[in-house]
């Protein structure tokens, strides 16, 4: 054990400097680790939504399907790469133990969502999109509540925006989702990155 020097002389200025250094490094650590995954997830998902929904609003048919497929693959791969990078920086027994359950949970969300959409057969594309968005946001909220991820509250405003667009602005629903949903997530991601 190292000795504790009870007579270590520290002036108020030195104490202030030391406390400032502690605060700076703690904030830097939180920014790069705790919120690191969140801001990347937000920006990647935001870009996918911005491009995907804008194309859905103005293009039609098969092209939109190809675009969404491509965007989903790019988004998924980016998320996986970032997840691996984060995993190498910090090892958490909790993460290791629960990762399989998280993957299983999202698999069930997809299966249940697809089953409900299959049974209810949404009348148009907007209904189907709203189903998918609400299911994803529900999953995101569940993740936050179960694992205490501090920055998942954005799922609530995104859900609210989707509902407002669906009920009050059906003519520009996809554009609404692109600009407010996608753009909002990008803005929030940038805010977390630079101002958190």
């Amino acid at each position: 054990m190292a000795k504790n020097d009870h007579h270590l002389a520290v002036s108020p200025d030195e104490a202030e400097e030391a406390l400032a250094a502690i605060q700076t490094i703690a904030q830097k650590t939180r920014q790069s680790l705790s919120s690191g995954g969140t801001y990347i997830t937000l920006i990647v998902t935001g870009v996918v939504w911005l491009v995907g929904f804008t194309c859905t609003q103005f293009l039609s048919g098969q092209v939109v399907g190809y675009i969404w497929t491509g965007l989903s693959i790019v988004g998924g791969l980016t998320g996986a790469v970032m997840g691996l990078r984060m995993g190498k920086r910090v090892r958490s027994p909790l993460t290791t133990q629960t990762m399989k359950r998280v993957v299983l949970f999202w698999l069930f969300v997809v299966i249940y969502g697809a089953t409900i959409i299959g049974i209810t057969r949404p009348g148009d594309g907007k209904q189907a999109v709203l189903f998918v968005v609400l299911f994803i946001m529900l999953g995101q909220l569940a993740m936050g509540m179960l694992f205490s991820f501090s920055t998942v509250w954005w799922a609530l405003p995104v859900s609210a925006l989707a509902l407002v667009g669906y009920f009050f602005l059906p003519g520009i629903f996809y554009l609404w989702m692109a600009i407010l949903g996608g753009g909002g997530m990008i803005a929030l991601g940038l805010y977390i990155r630079f101002r958190w």
Binding site: M1, A2, K3, N4, A18
Partner: protein, 97 residues
């Protein structure tokens, strides 16, 4: 009354402990990540980590990830406790200014 800790008060060690106690108690951070975060050299960080490890304030875990050696560092319960006391002592000095 909380007391200042000589081992922790050294600037680099103070920043190491500040970074480690910010993590969840069960988490451990990669050596290279900590080095980049603190903007210090490998040798400098290694020397300070040894001091902290000898004091029992941190735990160093060397493992192989994908056949490559990795060094992970975490704060021990004792390290968290003495760091907390050190911060309280620093705040007390400021209050009595």
């Amino acid at each position: 009354m909380a007391t200042l800790n000589e081992t922790i008060h050294q600037p680099v060690r103070l920043r190491i402990m500040a970074a480690l106690v910010t993590l969840e108690p069960t988490d451990e951070v990669d050596f290279t990540y900590l080095r980049d975060l603190l903007e210090v050299t490998d040798g400098n960080l290694g020397a300070h980590l040894r001091k902290l490890e000898e004091a029992g304030y941190i735990a160093i875990n060397k493992v192989f990830v994908e056949r490559k050696p990795h060094t992970y560092i975490s704060a021990t319960a004792l390290g968290r406790q003495v760091f907390k006391e050190h911060v309280v002592a620093l705040e007390a000095i400021l209050k009595n200014k």
